[in-house]
Symmetry: C2
Subunit: 233 residues, 2 copies
DNA sequence: TTCATCTCTATGTCTAAACTTATTTTGGCA
DNA sequence: TGCCAAAATAAGTTTAGACATAGAGATGAA
């Protein structure tokens, strides 16, 4: 057993992980079944089940009824990204947060955003452009569309006082989200808002969220040059 | 209850999620404790516990002993990214996969990579540059360092036949990984390998993996222009 | 042979009950 | 009033046992 101060299930995941990493159990091998491991570790089968399910979710094990549990051959591993709230992220970095609403109006939806939101092109939504600053240096520029049909009350909010993201996240939890990372050369507008040169490579995060009434919001976030989105596993 | 054909725990997560989305339970509200919900749903407390733990992991609920379960106020939601194996990704898109090893040699570790791998600068590792193609169009260019101390046998592998990623992933499961996404303007080399123009914005994935012997490999992947990394939740 | 059907097995799920533990609440004491 | 210790509480974990079910393998019919 590897761990000391954890739950039994945790200790079992650690030990199984160790056996895989140390290649006692090779990729593709079938490992002993739950009942056997329960005996080996001196715990109930439910405990082994919990441990192995965790490792299966992690992508280290493949489990199938009747076929048993195998060490994954080609572990296409997963990473969890936490998308923080900008203000919290900036404040955690010890900087002073501020933001500026560059534009706020009702506008007809352009085709690309309409497709992402599964709404008809030309529908009038709230269109918002905001720049977020850390210690007065541009941190990210967001271009957001908000659907009042799925987020009633949005028209009445003063987004100078509370950021759209915070207001939405606090009031309209979503059921489903699409997300994509890409890179773009800064447009003239991006460059102006982020105080950089046109053409600079920017990390772009495009995210659309949905609840049972449809798309809530779709946002394109352009991060300041050099920004890296970190994930650890 | 919302779901029909799922487990009881699943049905409970759906129903609780619905109550939150429909704002029957508002952000910050304390929800009934496990015992009460168990009675309401007519299941054992363990089943409610499982359901609520799932929602807590998702970031929708905050749970504390004695204090009870609350709807998260500022859900900084998580997204799971699956980092696929290039070849599988290309083949799944219906394209024909091929790759070319541009360079393979032992070289002294530069400072930035050394820092990421927690190895001394100047240590001689295997350095590999590979381009992966889909239907003969460049898909990604990778610049990889492999530590034979953590991945014994790496020197003897013919990386023309099997890609480094596949060989490593199949033979050396990792315990820990660091990952970062960023954007860079294509260098002259990037541009040549990806058959694009210098300065084009490229999505860069930087990943370092570790096992109990230390850093296994550190790789910088430059995707072809326009590539987007997708996550759904 | 090939296909359909049956059987069996390892995982999936649930339950009731017990015990553990973090944390809040309280109540007593100074 | 302020502080500390004790009690209470809600979640965390485990257990033994049961039943459900996917799906691999065996069996048998065509």
């Amino acid at each position: 057993m590897t761990e000391r101060n954890a739950s039994k299930a945790q200790a079992i995941t650690s030990e199984v992980r160790r056996r895989i990493v140390d290649r006692e159990w090779r990729q593709g091998d079938r490992i002993p079944d739950e009942a056997e491991l329960a005996v080996e570790f001196g715990v109930a089968r439910a405990t082994v089940n919990k441990a192995l399910q965790m490792l299966a979710e992690e992508g280290l094990l493949d489990r199938k009824r009747r076929a048993g549990t195998h060490v994954t051959v080609n572990p296409a591993r997963k990473a969890t990204l936490t998308i923080p709230i900008v203000r919290e992220q900036i404040e955690q970095a010890g900087m002073e947060y501020s933001h500026r609403v560059v534009a706020q109006r009702r506008s007809p939806l352009p085709a690309d955003v309409a497709a992402r939101m599964a709404l008809p092109e030309g529908r009038e939504l709230i269109h918002l452009r905001t720049v977020h600053y850390g210690d007065d240096k541009p941190f990210q520029a967001e271009d957001r569309w908000i659907n009042p049909a799925a987020a009633p009350g949005a028209e009445a909010v003063d987004f100078q006082r509370i950021t759209a993201n915070e207001w939405l996240v606090r009031n309209f939890p979503w059921l489903h989200a699409d997300m994509a990372f890409s890179a773009e050369n800064a447009s003239a507008r991006d460059a102006r808002l982020l105080e950089t040169r046109q053409g600079t490579a920017l990390l772009i995060l495009q995210r659309t969220t949905f609840n049972d009434l449809g798309a809530i919001t779709s946002v394109r976030v352009a991060f300041h040059p050099g920004y890296a989105m970190i994930a650890t596993h």
